[in-house]
Amino acid sequence: MTTDVEMEAAPRATRPRSGYWASGDAGIWLTAGATALCLLLILGVFALIVAGGLGFFWPRAVHEFTLADGTRVHGQIWEREPMPAGSHGPGGGTTSDAAGKPATAGRAERIEIKGANRDVDASREYFWVPAAEITARTTPRELIQVERLEYGEAYGMPVAYRWAGGEAGGGAGGGAGGEATGGAAFAKLNERWGEIERLRRQVSRLERKVIGEINRELESVRAELGSAAAPVGPKRDALSERARRLEQRYAAAEEELTALRTRLDAESLILATPSGAEISVPAGGIVRFFRPNELDLWGKVRVYADRMWEFVSGTPREANTQGGILPAIFGTVLMVFLMTLAVVPLGVIAALYLREYARQGTMVQAVRIAVNNLAGVPSIVFGIFGLGFFVYFVGGSIDRAFFADRLPTPTYGTGGILWSALTLALLTLPVVIVATEEGLAAVPRAAREGSLALGATKWETTWRVVLPAASPGILTGVILAMARAAGEVAPLMLTGAVKIANDLPLSGEFPFLHLERKFMHLGFHIYDVGFQSPNVEAAKPMVYMTTLLLVTLVIALNLVAMAIRSRLRARVQSSHF
């Protein structure tokens, strides 16, 4: 409904009238400057996210630094910046000394080194060193970088690769235990890697599928046996028999798991840090390993792609600072999907009523303004409403009615994906209503009248003529609503998003869709990892990557909505007659 009076080719900003000041051209330049600054801000934000996100997975060289005090450490150059004023190295010079030499102070630089080996010396994981205090820097080609399941990364020179007797030795060891020392360790690990990965897959399958499932079944059988309404007689015997068999299966699986773990633990890579400490990394704890200083471009691309793949397809590790975000992606998508299911019928019916069925007047106009303004109500208000109404009131009532036996442990009376989806459905309802109304308004009167003139009822006209014609408008609204829902965090914090959810809301277990479960969400993940994490520095790469993913998702949805809208406009304009 904006303007039909477009001003084409606006007057020239630099029209030669009188002087630069007198004509006010300077003012026009200021407005141009403001526009440029706004654009620069947008570009800056996006550039920051892209640069911050994409760079982190690229393998960097790992150097061996020798510091002024003689200590040596392996690490990557993480960041450089000018020395902050007032601090000139540890204990170096008094303040007056420093103030006397501002020129040198201004030029001095300090370097943030990202070390590893948190288990050996946590203080050397991220630390700042004045550039002047680094006396030597080498880049040993043999150095191995290992990403571990625990304690983050490990850097070190290979000492040995050890394996115990039995099959673990594979071809090289031939039955007995053995050890490949020095440079051969890397080759050996490479050789064993396929086998190790196979074993690890078996372990995780056993852990997650077998033991998890048996456990759940066993729990339900035990609950049935222990409940007040427990069956008696032969039925009870059958149940106990089932429980006994489950227990046996559980024990067998556990035994198998222990055997596998022993085999994995029997092999380990020994690394040496420059300070002389040895780190033993069990083969079962290695996620990825490579020689960062030896990688060619192709090798780097492979590491990059591998890390990227883990990021989008893996589960989080190490308090969400490592690993992937698949559960968060999944949670976001499912939540948005549920929200869409709820918001589309509601929004469309409300819009149909307002535009097609209600008598147009002051009242409807007032309602329209109210609905429109609801889009401006802070999302946290919806959040607290969702908490009070859906979680406590509706959820609490459901619990009392259907899950009374589990109380006081709430089932639906606590945050869950359903409540989040419904809360966001309310939040985005105005978006859908307004867009649908716009779409309905754009349907030419002639189309309606034509349909009615041919004898169609109002409903048939609405269903067969008006709605199909308005569908791009509806779609635009739905997509905008999805984009808004995907990026919204505040209401989710109150209604069900959590930092880590072990069970996905969708699983192979009856009833497959667990609407009461809590879920992970990309936006909440950003907040949580970036601000609630004990090691913010180590978490930053994850946050940037998650941000990049979320922003890409939201922008893509918006672009699609925009494209649909412009096509709709074009069509409506062409159908004017």
Partner: protein, 748 residues
Amino acid sequence: MSSPRLRRLQDRTARSVITLGGLGIITSILGILVFIGGEALPLATPPSVSEESAARGRADANGSPTTNGRAAGAAVVDPGAATVVGWNGYRELLLRVEAAGRASVRRLPEQTDLLTTQIPALEGRTIVASALLDDIGLDWAVTTDDGEIGRIRLEEGDHFGEQGRAYDPSVRYDSLAITSIRTPRVLAGMVDAEQLRIGISTGADSIALVHAEETSNLFGETRRSVSSSSLPIPSNVTVTALAFEGSGDRLYLGTEQGELLEYDLRAPGAEPSRNQLFATGVSALAMLNGGHSLIAGGRAGEVEIWFHSRKSVNAAPELARAHVFTPHENAIRGISVSRRDRGFLTWDAGGEARLHFATSGRTLLRMRVGESAPERVLLAAKADGILAQDGAGTIRTYALHNPHPELSAGALFGKIQYEGASEPLYVWQSTGSTDDYESKLSLVPLIFGTLKGTAYALLFSVPLAILAATYTSLFLHARLRSVIKPTMEMMAALPSVVLGFLAGLWLAPNLQRALPALLVLPIALVLLVIAAGWIWRSLPRQFTGRLIPGVESLFLIVVLAIGIRTVFALNPGMNALFPGGFEDWLYQSMGVRYDQRNALVIGVSMGIAVIPIVFTISEDSISNVPRALWAGSLALGASPWQTALRVILPAASPGIFSAVMIGLGRAVGETMIVLMATGNTPIIDWSAFNGFRTLAANIAVEIPEAPQGGTLYRLLFLTALLLFLMTFVVNTVAEVVRQRLRQRYSRF
């Protein structure tokens, strides 16, 4: 095709479904407001008190007539002069001990006796005086007519049985000390995990103190040591009331002469410090929950609260009058303190009891207890009931409904004298580390924070957005505009959690480093833009003339990028101009503390969130100004800038106003950015260099710790309601203004 009847039916069904559905959906949207209001509403309900037996639906045992609807003469337990009366936390056990030592424990509300026994040690002796050791009445200090000081305790023996809670009570009596005086009078006592202190009036001018300590040694054996001492009192006073401070280290004496004497028990023999409390005598003293504030009741009905506070940072804490309540008509007989909150009950000789709340200094409730003057009135442990015993020994119980005593308009929006503070303050600090924490629930710091955040965000975004909108709609070629406008709108879609994250983890640390550069930046950029314009003008016309209008802005992007980079590159040099760096200098010489997460960071980051909103709506409204005005003005010889400034912008000003309003609405309610980049400290300070807490962020911060239905929970709903109404009103005003504008220009 189906039959006409079916089609008609279909049509009618659809109509009713859509009408009902539509109305339903719209109603339920407005229902959000109703629900939020409903959750907050109980905060406004005044406290009420109802006679217990009626409340529990039990017929009156003694059948005394109820007069004029007030709770009179009902709930009579039974007559008989008990000197010790108390009930347990669930108000289910009633303890009575008569002067002769007969103890009974009665289950309420059934009124069945669980225990009736003669305390063996009190056989043949008479209790002459009693005083509470705890506040609810299950632990008493008593003195006997032969000079013994003892302690009577009810052990509830509570456990869960078939029908809920069950009790197996027993009454214990311990002899603590024997004095030489006959019929000593107990004035007050206190007990905590380690010690027990009792103060006894042993005559007109002397006070004896009994101090019992229980210590456990390594082997888990407990040893009790009891000591008694006498307290020297100034000669010309008569002690009428006594109270121990919570720690037991300090003793307050109230006198017949209206004086308050304060003894430090850690320094025996030290002179008491004296304060004149009332013109007439002090008749009751008690310590408020937490044990730091003294409640004093006077013979003329005065009720006051005193506590120690420092006049200045270095001064020693001094006892000072903090709250004065409306006096009773009769002399105060006693005070009973709530163990749950800062409430307390005073009752007078005329039979009136009043419930007060110390923090807000309000009297919440006035009631008559019984028909004659009460002998003793007790507030239940959970402050949900009142027990009154009159002179004839009749005991009445009342249910008290007072779920949110700490809230009032004064507590939310006014300055409050908090315990230990030297002056009334606006403070938000809802929870503390201890159970007896005094909740500080002033909304003023939060409203202030909201306004501050909004102000800084608008300060940054409004000028930029309006200037950019002016340029985009008036001076930019349509082709460029069709790119730039959607780009700006795209920025509106950026999730606020992303902006918050960048603000908190990237912008905040970088700003701290580059503070002087940032302060120089606005001026530098304005100069740079003007200079760039000057240079552009002097470029050869053959070159600039061929470009479409508006390309300057793209050129400016490059210029600005270089400019910003340069200014920040100069930052270390600027920093070095100040001894110890700018931040240090700021603190040393200006006394301004720099917090990393502050209002500047919010101004920029929330500004980025607000810019696209203000920009889009302003741009629309500027574009909607009829072209005739533009052409007319130029034809009359005005320059484009003059036309823009004097003709177009004034004409579009209502639209721009509504743009600013909608931007304001967004800034007021923004949660994630503020949550992540302010530090969330609820302080009142306009400085750009420190943080704040907004209403919206406060909800996100506090709601996980607010139990459902509690005061904080409801208060957060109240703030949500405030936010809802604020944004709704602001947006509606903006919308109405915009529609008016549209109507005005539809004539053209």
